[in-house]
Symmetry: C2
Subunit: 115 residues, 2 copies
């Protein structure tokens, strides 16, 4: 696995939310905020570029819709998006497992085994 930290957590979040049904930018930020128990405050400067990038990558499709006199841009997951979501979820769990593996390992020092 790529040793790079965990890039694209934002995309993972977006993909997950949209996998449960179409939504739009502002609502996504609110959903993530409440679901993460207030931990993740998605910034617009991060969210919108991410949304556009995922759309360009054909993982999302967008459509405008009026509601309550408000112009909203809804996004919907494509089949490719669903596949990407599964892959990123796996990558995330792998990463978490790797990190927990290091954090939780028995405090053995240096020349432990490798003999």
């Amino acid at each position: 696995m790529d040793p790079k930290l965990f890039p694209g957590a934002i995309e993972l979040l977006v993909l997950e939310i949209l996998s449960e049904g179409p939504s739009y930018g502002y609502e996504v930020t609110q959903t993530v905020l409440s679901r993460s128990a207030g931990r993740f405050e998605l910034k617009e400067g991060s969210l919108y570029p991410a949304l556009h990038k995922l759309e360009r990558a054909k993982m999302l499709t967008a459509f405008w819709q009026e509601a309550e006199g408000r112009r909203r841009k809804y996004y919907k997951l494509t089949a490719a998006g669903r596949k990407a979501l599964a892959a990123r979820k796996t990558a995330w769990r792998e990463f978490a497992a790797g990190l927990e593996g290091v954090l939780g390992a028995s405090p053995r020092r240096a020349g432990t085994s490798h003999a």
Copy 2:
């Protein structure tokens, strides 16, 4: 919590390893590699700058030592480093909890509650 994804996982790993006793660069990479079950391959271009940064931040102290004819730079955790490790561990678990909260939430759509 800071909405920023999870920067500095490398520093968390380094801090954790060194909390179990002094070690040096090359050994840290090997320890992380085995503990993460081969998932994290710490690159020198990431590790050494991180080590230097943590040292500048007084979280580590360094001392040179010869062993097997090899010149090694050992690093040791300071009290500040121990505090930082605890804080970062907490931040990590918070982050993981937040992400799992979003991933695992019951697939309720839009107008769920917030009434």
